[in-house]
């Protein structure tokens, strides 16, 4: 079951990178980055998953040797990663807007003043 998650996460990362390579639209490049980011988030969450585990929310007295819960650290990492992903999208979209203003196009093949 969890193996499917791993396959799906690497598929998403690969799909995201594939999008960036093959699509000539700047907005699609941003979408590709987001897809790759979601793939990594899925990977992180899957690594922390324990079959049958509960949510890792306990108070000081409740936690015992028998407590069985999923790993909380990857969940914290995912939250950070989601925030960073949102920042990437926001910043790249603002750059895309500015690029469209000054170049009048979103085609990567025409946005190549700097080359060679």
């Amino acid at each position: 079951m969890i193996t499917f998650n791993y396959i799906a996460s690497f598929f998403l990362i690969a799909l995201g990178f594939y999008t960036i390579i093959t699509k000539f639209n700047l907005v699609k490049a941003v979408i590709g980055l987001s897809i790759a980011d979601y793939g990594v988030n899925l990977l992180i969450i899957s690594i922390g998953y324990v079959p049958g585990g509960t949510a890792p929310i306990f108070t000081q007295g409740e936690i015992t040797q028998l407590s069985y819960f999923v790993d909380p650290i990857p969940q914290a990492l995912t939250l950070t990663s989601i925030v960073i992903g949102a920042c990437v999208t926001a910043m790249s979209m603002s750059l895309v807007m500015k690029l469209h203003e000054s170049y009048g196009t979103l085609d990567t093949r025409e946005i190549r003043r700097l080359h060679g």
């Binding site: 390579i21 490049a29 790759a36 980011d37 690594i47 750059l95 990567t108 700097l114 080359h115 060679g116």
Partner: protein
């Protein structure tokens, strides 16, 4: 924890003060004086903290392990977030805080005419804080966070002057490929976590080498490629070139002097500590190969450039190639020469970028074909530029010579020790690259500072004192590190190299004495006998004397001779067949432009140059493809050789 001035708190101060300064400038940055004071104060405190750590860490050889909130390891597991400062971290910390300090001083007047200056300082301090946090962190996830902060700040600063030709484009390409790298770092980090169930760097270094499997090998590839995007080594060099050309000069100093070093730091930590695979000749081959390709490819790219800052950007990656090659040799001399060159590169490349910024500030262009003769108008900048150019070209007694000389020695010594003839070839590539670097700086000095002054620059003035002061600091440091390689070796590079070859003491400092031996068992690396041979033996002072005598002789000849330079090029003498005249109206003076100086050489290599020009197409998809191909190749390499 009562004593707040205890030096173990200094690493966290040096990071926090930068972020605090960034925050305060957002709040109070309206006032011009106030924001300059805050910016200079925070970078000075950060630098002072780093300098204060030289004695305990570099001289006494301590490793500072600092647990946030005093959450020390429990039950053999690192549960808190840690900072760990050994000599290697401190070396990079010192280098970074120096570059940031000088760049901030330069910014005050360089950026005075721009809009949104508070935001500029906020981003500058965020960038500085991110890189500081990266090199001082002892936690791999925090390293990722810092990588993201510095990438974001660097992208925003690249696009800061968004009316500049290509600034937005450069920033977007850097953002996309940089974020692909960051995604790789995160994926690699989490795959290591899946194997070792810890994020503490020291504990990972103890667990991973003994438990290699397919997923850790792929994690290595992901992390390696991720840090490669930060170091801009091949195949990520076009991003650096684009970003440098568009960013303000004070930011170019940080991108070339600081960001690339953070990538190199990541690669060193990855190969020397986390996986401890550097003992294998295949991994030495990997680093040396990428280093040599970066070195040679970028110097030839630089020869074909027409823009001052873009040319410097390619040289920057070429010098990073030297650092990577030397580090990849896995010898004590090689490592110390590599990081010595990293230090020198930050100094001389910072100086050159600031000189390019001064030219841009006064003339409004960095196009080599338009400039000329500025030595008459900007004599101080010219002298400072020449110091930087001599340093990067490896002319004694400046610092570039000292470190390059050590790198040649280290390569050759490696060839003798390992019996591998390939390392002789590496030495040759290093030498050829150095020659081409010199050639390209002859071209730059000729087309910017010498030759005839175009009429439109008649009113150009020398830059302000603050900017010259910043360049002067770099120039002074270039000369000092060149003249006293023994002191640099004793207090900076040799402790750092010793630290790099003793991963177990790094682990023990964090998790208690004997942890490395018990956790790693048979995988514990044998205690390295770090010997620094008579490395870099030469007497800088006598070279300085020779240099002075030669300069004096040139000056005397130039002053006393009757040869009149002006008449030779511009007066309408009858003997026109020796005049410089290419085409067009004879009355119009045409200078031997930067692109023409080595035309014979370029003509012979025209197929190579045009191939490289077409290859660096400027299309985002191509650069992304290179990144993925690089990732695939490193993964394949890992799965085959290990």
């Amino acid at each position: 924890m009562s004593n707040f001035m205890n030096y173990i708190h200094f690493p966290i101060y040096s990071v926090m003060v930068l972020f605090l300064g960034a925050f305060l400038i957002v709040v109070l940055g309206k006032n011009k004086t106030l924001r300059s004071i805050i910016a200079v104060l925070s970078v000075s405190i950060s630098l002072a903290c780093m300098i204060a750590l030289i004695k305990p860490v570099m001289v006494n050889g301590e490793v500072i392990a600092y647990w946030m909130g005093n959450r020390v390891p429990a039950g053999g597991y690192a549960i808190g977030i840690a900072m760990e400062v050994d000599a290697l971290s401190l070396f990079f910390g010192l280098l970074i805080s120096t570059a940031v300090f000088v760049s901030t001083i330069y910014s005050i007047q360089y950026m005075a005419h721009d809009e949104n200056i508070p935001q500029y300082y906020t981003l500058l301090l965020m960038l500085a804080g991110g890189v500081m946090g990266l090199v001082l962190s002892g936690d791999i996830f925090n390293m990722f966070i810092m990588v993201e902060i510095l990438t974001f700040a660097a992208v925003a600063l690249t696009a800061f002057r968004n009316r500049v030709f290509g600034a937005l484009e450069a920033a977007f390409k850097y953002l996309v490929v940089g974020c692909m790298g960051s995604t790789c770092i995160l994926a690699g980090t989490i795959m290591l976590y899946a194997n070792a169930h810890t994020l503490n760097f020291a504990q990972l270094s103890a667990i991973i080498p003994g438990n290699m499997n397919t997923s850790t090998k792929i994690a290595f590839a992901l992390l390696f490629v991720g840090f490669s995007t930060k170091a801009f080594i091949v195949p990520f060099h076009p991003l650096a070139a684009d970003a440098h050309g568009a960013a303000p000069a004070s930011i170019s100093v940080l991108i070339s002097g600081v960001l690339t070093k953070s990538g190199i730091y990541g690669i060193i930590r990855l190969t020397y500590f986390l996986f401890q695979t550097m003992g294998l000749s295949t991994f030495q081959f990997l680093l040396v190969f990428i280093g040599c390709v970066s070195m040679f490819l970028c110097v030839t790219m630089a020869l074909a450039q027409h823009d001052f800052k873009r040319l410097l950007a390619f040289h920057s990656i070429s010098q990073i190639g030297y650092v990577l090659t030397a580090v990849g040799l896995f010898t004590a001399v090689g490592f110390s020469s590599g990081i010595y060159h990293a230090l020198n590169h930050t100094l001389f490349k910072g100086l050159l970028f600031l000189a390019a910024g001064a030219v841009l500030h006064e003339t409004g262009t960095t196009n080599l074909d338009e400039l000329g003769g500025l030595s008459k108008k900007m004599p101080h900048t010219t002298v400072l530029f020449l110091i930087g150019a001599f340093s990067i070209s490896g002319i004694p007694p400046f610092n570039g010579f000292a470190s390059k000389w050590m790198i040649y020695q280290a390569c050759y010594q490696k060839a003798v020790e390992s019996g591998n003839i390939g390392y002789v070839l590496v030495t040759v590539i290093c030498l050829v690259t150095s020659v081409l670097t010199l050639a390209s700086f002859v071209k730059v000095s000729q087309s910017v500072f010498f030759g005839r002054l175009p009429e439109k620059y008649e009113n150009v003035k020398e830059v302000s004192f603050g900017m010259r002061l910043a360049m002067g600091i770099f120039a002074l440091l270039c000369v000092l590190t060149g003249l006293f390689p023994d002191l640099v070796g004793k207090y900076l590079t040799q402790p750092a190299a010793t630290a790099a070859f003793n991963a177990s003491s790094y682990i023990d400092a964090m998790l208690g004495e004997g942890y490395a031996a018990s956790a790693m068992g048979p995988f514990l690396p044998a205690a390295q006998n770090v010997v620094f041979y008579e490395a870099g033996v030469w007497s800088p002072m006598s070279w300085l004397l020779i240099m002075c005598i030669v300069l004096l002789a040139i000056t005397i000849v130039a002053v006393t001779s009757k040869y009149d330079r002006v008449s030779a090029v511009s007066s309408g003498e009858a003997d026109a067949k020796h005049a410089l005249f290419f085409s067009g109206e004879e009355a119009v003076y045409s200078q031997v432009g930067g692109s023409d100086l080595f035309w014979g050489f370029k003509h012979n290599w025209r197929h190579y140059f045009s191939f490289m020009h077409d290859l660096h197409s400027g299309i985002l998809n191509d650069y992304a493809l290179w990144a993925v191909v690089d990732l695939a190749l490193v993964m394949l390499f890992m799965l085959i050789v290990l």
